[in-house]
């Protein structure tokens, strides 16, 4: 993260929130568990408690080029600005896949079209943060904390959502997982959240004979001696080791007919691996409510490509994986899941001299789920003739409008002032209750 002078305050906020929430919801969990009749299976109890969706939040790190992810192929200005890296109009050879006669998906993302046709994919265009920053690190941070231009806030929007609702499953020891080495900022502040780079290797190594004893020892030691956030992290680690052993993601068999891209060997996709493990986690019904996943490689200043090349490779990996996950988890398993995909900013409308694009402003978001109002490109299209600072796509829909509607309608949390402080969102009819 970039340097801000206020990080001391942020740490205090973290400690205060995480510890208090941890203790608070431990109490709720205990009460819930004991008030359920002994004969009632915990799973059905959990189901009665909440119907909220599991949210899978995918962040495209580096500033993904929204004008390639969803092509405004009817706008001549697009082809003028992008002489060497455009995607041809729908109908032309190598052209994009039509969505609504105005916008189209690039061929590398054709796999998403079936989801759009089924009404389960919504593309939001000319969206993003209205903050002017073109810094990756500030822009990511501002979006993830859900409050642009505020360097003092440290908890993430998804973290505050988790912290402000009772657990969907009161017995769940782990509520949120970031598939990452460092917990994504959007999840910071969530009680019982933990970064897990790989669910299949999340075990204490060393002698299997002494493993249980060493684990018990570590648990006791960190409870006894450590201070937050380390103590809370140790508690979360222990619960997660136990839960993931139960999930056994390494042995997961997808149900869908659409194959995940390879997760090992040549051409292995770490994104596919992360989504497949997420599928295992959701299929196992262990009460995890949010999963954050990063996909990097979008900072295409040079040799961006269009139907082939660097960006096409990333887009294909993204779309093929999403489709496989959708067919597996949302269709075949019929799980209540909402997927949100965003990036810190779009890229410059005009390509640069390196056949790439520099940092821009407005961008796209993708939303997937059965209760998403899909089959539409939701936009207040500003066009490519009137640009932000004469350079970039304008932002006409604040990203918080989209996220807040999902928090309210799909995650059943009405504390929007907590999740998006200082902002009154306008719902855009992208989700159903």
């Amino acid at each position: 993260m970039s340097e801000h002078v206020h990080d001391a305050c942020a740490c205090t906020e973290y400690n205060r929130l995480s510890r208090r929430q941890f203790i608070g919801w431990s109490g709720v969990a205990a009460a819930g568990a004991f008030s359920a009749p002994a004969w009632m299976p915990r799973v059905s109890f959990a189901r009665d408690f909440s119907n909220r969706d599991v949210i899978v939040s995918i962040y495209l790190r580096g500033g993904a080029d929204g004008l390639t992810l969803c092509v405004p192929y009817n706008d001549p200005a697009y082809y003028t600005a992008r002489p060497t890296i455009n995607v041809a109009p729908a109908g032309a050879p190598g052209g994009c896949v039509n969505l609504d006669y105005t916008f189209g998906l690039p061929p590398a993302m054709a796999a998403l079209h079936a989801m759009y046709a089924a009404g389960h994919l919504c593309v939001v265009h000319a969206t993003g943060s209205t903050d002017p920053t073109r810094s990756h690190f500030d822009a990511q941070r501002f979006m993830e904390v859900g409050k642009p231009a505020d360097p003092t806030i440290f908890t993430g929007w998804l973290g505050r959502h988790i912290a402000s609702v009772a657990p969907a499953d009161p017995t769940a020891p782990v509520r949120a997982i970031g598939i990452a080495y460092q917990l994504q900022q959007q999840l910071v502040g969530a009680s019982r959240s933990v970064p897990v780079p790989d669910m299949t290797t999340y075990t204490l190594r060393g002698s299997s004979t002494t493993r249980a004893a060493r684990q018990t020892w570590l648990d006791a030691t960190y409870d006894l001696i450590s201070v937050d956030p380390v103590r809370a992290a140790a508690d979360n680690t222990m619960s997660t080791i136990t839960k993931l052993a139960q999930v056994n993601a390494g042995a997961y068999t997808p149900l869908g007919t659409y194959p995940y891209p390879p997760t090992s060997g040549t051409g292995a996709s770490s994104f596919s691996k992360a989504m497949r493990q997420t599928a295992a986690l959701i299929a196992a019904d262990v009460g995890v409510e949010a999963v954050a996943i990063d996909k990097s490689g979008w900072d295409t200043h040079s040799a961006q490509g269009s139907t082939t090349g660097t960006m096409a490779t990333h887009m294909s990996d993204l779309a093929e994986t999403l489709r496989a996950f959708y067919e597996d988890v949302i269709i075949a398993r019929n799980k209540n899941v909402t997927i949100v995909i965003m990036s810190e900013f779009g890229r410059r409308v005009a390509e640069n001299g390196s056949r790439g694009t520099d940092h821009g402003h407005g961008n796209v978001m993708f939303l997937v789920g059965k209760k998403i109002v899909g089959g539409q490109v939701k936009t207040i299209w500003p066009g490519l003739s009137s640009l932000y600072q004469n350079l970039d796509l304008q932002v006409t829909i604040d990203f918080r409008d989209i996220l807040a509607e999902i928090v309210s309608k799909r995650l059943e949390n009405q504390a929007l002032a907590t999740v998006f402080p200082g902002y009154t969102p306008t719902f855009r009819n992208i989700a159903m209750v």
Binding site: D7, L224, P229, A233, H301
Partner: protein, 490 residues
């Protein structure tokens, strides 16, 4: 074992281990202070406490110890130096030679392993800590093509050559480093449609800081100033992959950068545009604050105290950005305290574990896997901001940290057939101790300079009881000691 292993030695496969330095004996100790203070001074100067460093502190006193580490070129580094030159021949190669190596990933691996071995075994420990800081500050991701072999030259000619020089020289060397120019796409920044990537990160991450007072217009103007800054291609003989200013790609018009007029320049004098920009940035008040804050964060604590940042920025101003003077300023204050505890990043934790336990490393490639699992393999951070140096970035993934100790002490990284890998001989560390409390006292002495609090000592004892613990239980106790909360901080 060491003798046998060296007889098997070849250039490409390290087979001898670097022996631990024996503590020096001091008839009249000069260090005045508590064991806690001694541990802090050593811990904040190095990649982790050792009995040898503690003996140096005792011999030289606090100021003498600092001065020793401030002049690394005067510290003999024979064992480590010989190991590195015997096993990592690409480290001294010219860019042209590097480009001709059969495997660029082998070049990358040699750099990564040398970096880890230096962190653990170099006697120039403060130098290695400063190198760590600038490597993150001028981060370059080693997995990109061309960069995968050119980072070796950048590490040597930019970072290490200037780590204790002036910030302006370091900045200037970085701006002309082909690895940096490629990583941030300045190699294709040309007149007409410039590429902003380097210009932006130069101001945001290398000098002014994101709130340092520049605008989007400044980014575009700076990009124009750096048009034509690239490198010689593979056919340029001995100049291949060295810096080149290509005047035909340079924008010759006037630019305005942070209010300063850069006049129109043609031909080779166009190079001066970028030089002017670097001078403006190196002499900017925001840069002094930003660099001071970086050094304070690295050596003093996660949440830099503003007064210390200000006085360090004052040293920058007074000394013309002399890095050695700024580091000395921050360390004197850090030694004196009060100093907030800092959470070790994974590489630091692994290095300090190996240092405190006198680990024997004969297969440095084994150091890579645990750091990959912890998300902290050197040079493997793709965005340009470098590995984070915040508390919250590293507290989440405790499991990978616990596994350092677990795997080391279970000989997971040791091949008993080839006798290569990473291993610890606990026998000399525990001496004649046989009781649980006796073993804990020895662990405490080796790893904590005897400063372990009673609650943590009691926990360790509980694992070792009943008395006369087996050798494997003792090994595991060392691994658990490396997982203790107290060992996560320094």
């Amino acid at each position: 074992m060491t003798q046998l292993a060296s007889q098997l030695g070849t250039l490409s496969r390290p087979t001898h281990a670097i022996p631990p330095d024996e503590p020096v004996t001091t008839p009249t100790p000069k260090f005045v202070g508590t064991l806690d203070q001694a541990r802090r001074i050593v811990d904040r100067t190095t990649f982790g406490f050792t009995r040898y460093e503690w003996s140096l502190l005792n011999q030289l006193g606090t100021e003498g110890y600092l001065r020793r580490h401030l002049y690394p070129e005067q510290i003999p580094d024979g064992e480590l130096g010989a190991f590195v030159s015997a096993n990592y021949p690409t480290l001294t190669m010219t860019p042209q030679l590097l480009s001709q190596q059969a495997s660029s990933s082998d070049v990358s691996n040699q750099l990564i392993r040398a970096r880890l071995m230096r962190a653990v075994f170099s006697r120039r420990q403060l130098f290695e800590r400063v190198v760590e800081m600038w490597t993150d500050h001028f981060n370059i991701w080693i997995r990109e093509s061309l960069v995968n072999f050119l980072k070796t030259a950048d590490d040597r000619d930019v970072i290490r050559a200037n780590a204790f020089g002036t910030f302006a020289n370091l900045l200037s060397a970085s701006a002309q480093s082909p690895a940096m120019l490629i990583y941030l796409n300045n190699d294709t920044n040309k007149v007409g449609r410039p590429n902003e990537n380097y210009a932006r990160e130069l101001m945001e991450l290398h000098t002014l800081g994101v709130d340092g007072g520049y605008t989007q217009a400044d980014v575009q103007q700076v990009a124009k100033c750096f048009t034509g800054w690239t490198y010689f291609g593979s056919s340029a003989g001995t100049s291949a992959y060295t810096f080149q200013f290509k005047s035909t790609d340079h924008d010759t018009t006037q630019k305005i950068v942070l209010g300063n007029i850069i006049p129109p320049r043609t031909g080779n004098s166009g190079l001066q545009d970028g030089v002017d920009v670097l001078n403006i940035l190196a002499n900017h008040a925001s840069t002094r604050q930003f660099i001071a804050r970086k050094i304070v964060r690295h050596f003093w604590g996660h949440s830099p105290e503003q007064s210390l940042v200000d006085s360090t920025a004052g040293v920058y101003l007074a000394t013309g950005g002399d890095i050695r003077s700024m580091v000395a300023h921050v360390l004197r204050r850090t030694y004196a305290g009060p100093t907030p505890p800092k959470f070790k990043r994974p590489m630091h934790l692994l290095a300090s574990t190996l240092r405190a336990t006198n680990a024997r490393v004969t297969a440095p490639n084994n150091l890579q896997t645990p750091l990959t699992e912890a998300g902290h393999l050197p040079f493997d951070w793709s965005p340009p901001d470098g590995f984070p140096d915040t508390l919250e970035a590293w507290t989440g993934l405790l499991l990978a940290r616990w596994n350092f100790g677990a795997r080391l002490m279970n000989n997971d990284w040791w091949n008993s057939t080839t006798q290569l890998g990473i291993t610890v001989d606990t026998a000399p560390l525990i001496g004649t101790a046989v009781t649980a409390s006796g073993v804990v006292a020895k662990i405490n002495e080796a790893m904590f300079n005897g400063t372990l609090r009673s609650a943590e000592r009691a926990q360790l004892e509980s694992y070792l009881l009943p008395n006369n613990p087996s050798a494997s239980t003792i090994r595991e106790a060392f691994g658990l000691a490396a997982s203790l909360p107290a060992f996560q901080w320094y």
